[in-house]
Symmetry: C2
Subunit: 318 residues, 2 copies
Amino acid sequence: MAVYTEVTDEALTAFLERYEIGTLLAYRGIAEGVENSNYALKTTQGDFILTLYEKRVNPEDLPWFLGLMEHLAANGLTCPLPVRAKDGQNLNPLAGKIAAITTFLPGVWPRRVGIEHCEPLGAALAKLHLAGQGFAATRKNGLGPDAWGPLLAKCEGADSVQPGLAAELEGWLGQITAAWPKDLPVGHIHADLFPDNVFFLNGEISGLIDFYFACTDIYAYDVAICLNAWCFERDFSFNATKSRALLRGYMAHRELSAAEQAAMPVLAQGAAMRFLLTRLYDWLNTPAGALVTPKDPMDYYRRLRFHLAAKDASAYGL
Amino acid sequence: MAVYTEVTDEALTAFLERYEIGTLLAYRGIAEGVENSNYALKTTQGDFILTLYEKRVNPEDLPWFLGLMEHLAANGLTCPLPVRAKDGQNLNPLAGKIAAITTFLPGVWPRRVGIEHCEPLGAALAKLHLAGQGFAATRKNGLGPDAWGPLLAKCEGADSVQPGLAAELEGWLGQITAAWPKDLPVGHIHADLFPDNVFFLNGEISGLIDFYFACTDIYAYDVAICLNAWCFERDFSFNATKSRALLRGYMAHRELSAAEQAAMPVLAQGAAMRFLLTRLYDWLNTPAGALVTPKDPMDYYRRLRFHLAAKDASAYGL
C-alpha cells in the first residue's frame, strides 16, 4: 500500500481549476495500489479518482492507456472514464508528476474469490476484448515472452530463494517460448485482471479498473492470466469448478477457437512465468523498509508447476 | 501512512448489517493516519469513516472518546458523529479489532499553514472547550506532566540523536514540571489539534477530527499545543502574527484569564516537551521497515528552545 507523492491542498485546488468538475470538498490518499499514487477525490460534483503516475509507468504510454479506457467506456464497458480538462487534455502535471482524474466506480473487489465470481469475471473479460475492437492504436506487451529471458537474467540471486531456481526457470522458459503460439487472435487485453481490479456489487460486476498493463496481445493469454489469478485456492490447488465457470462466462460472449483452447496450457504456463518473474525481480530488488512489501514469487512457481503438468485444455475444463 | 488491519468485503458486509446506514458500495483504506486503521466507506446512504482501533489506543477509553464526540456534536461542534448500531452500540468488533463508524466530514486540512487559518483555528478550539462543558465523565491526560519523566527514562539512546540530549531534557523537564500551573481552568481538551486534524472549506473550518488523545486537562494547555503546532515556520522561526491571530480567535469566544496568560510560556514549554518525548521515543523504538516513518523529534527541541527563551506571554502576542 502506498502513496508515493504527496499533493498539497493548494496544488490540488489549482489543478482542479483546469477542469469543470466543481471545487474540492475532500481528498484522501488510498492505501491500496502498488504502482501509482491514488487519491479518492470528492468535489462539489461528485466522487473521482486522482492518479499520479509513478516511475514504473512510461509517460509515453499514458495517452494510449487513457485512450483505450475512453474507447472501452464508449463501447459499453464499465471502467474508469478519464475526465478531460477544459482544454481537452486528460493528462496534466501535478506535484512534479503526470496526473489524471477518472470517474469513481462503486463496488468492492472480492478478497476471497468464490465460484460465483468466476462466470461474471469471464463474461467481463470477453466483453472487454470485444469492446476494445475498433481502437486502432496498439501497444506491445512489455512483459510478453520476449521480456522473460532478460528479466530472468536480471534476477541475480534467484537461487537464494530456492536452490537451483534459476536453472529450473531457464529450462521451463525455453520450453514455453518454443511452444508459444503464433497465430492466435490478437487484440487489446487487460493483462492484469486480478481480483483487486474487479469490482462487484450485488453479485454483479460493477467495474474493471487499472489498465496500466493493458497491451495488444493474444486474447486467450488474457484468459490464461485470469485462470492463474482467479482459479487457485490458498493452498495452490487448482479449482476446476472455478475455471469452468470462468471459461463458460467468457465463451458466452466470445468463442474460443480449437487452436485457442489447445494453446491454453502453454498460455497459462507463460502467464505464471510472467508473474513469477516480476515478483521474483521485486523480491530480490525491493529495499528493506520500502512502502510496498513484495509478494512471494513462489506462489507462481506452484501455479506454474500445475500448468506444466497439464496435458491439454481438459485440465481447465475445456 | 498506514492501514494496519485489512478488512475483507465479507466481514465488512456482515458488520454493516448491525447498522442502519444502507449497504456497502465501496471502501478504501486511507493512507493518512498513524495510530489507527481508517477506511473511507460509501454506502447507499452516503459517506462514512470506518475506524479500527489499533494497539496504541486503550479499549477502555473508547466509550469516553466516542461519548465526547457525541456530546460535542450535540453541542454544535462540527466533528465526526459516531453512528450507533441498531442495538445502540457505537463500538463493535471487526477483523479482530474494535471498530466504529463515524460520519464523513467534507474539507481539506492545510498542508501549509497560512495566517488566514489561525484565527478560525483559535475560534474552533475555544468552541470545542465550551461545547465540552456538561460532559460529566473525565479522562486523565495520559501524556501529561506526570508521564514525561517515565517517558524520558524509556528513551534509551537519546544521546545518539544529539550528544547530551538526555541530560539537557532532564534539566528542562524538572524546571517545567516545577513551574507547572496548578489552579488554571480545566475541562475537556483535544490535546492533538494539529493541522491534519482540522478541515477547512472555503476559508472556514468545516470540521475537527481525531479525538483519540482528548482528555481532561488545563484549557490553556490546549492553546499552548496549538501555538506549537500552528505558529512555527518550516525553519522553526516563531510567527507572532499567526499566534496573535490564533489567540484573537480563541479569546473572541473564551477569555484567557491573567493567570492563564501568564502561564503560557511554561504551558508551551510543556507542550513542546510532550511532543518531543513521544517523537523521541518513536524515533528510538520504531523498527526499520515499519509502515510509519517516525517524525524527527528535534523539530520540537527547536520549538522548546524558543519557549524556554520566552520571558512572558508577550512572546506570543498576549
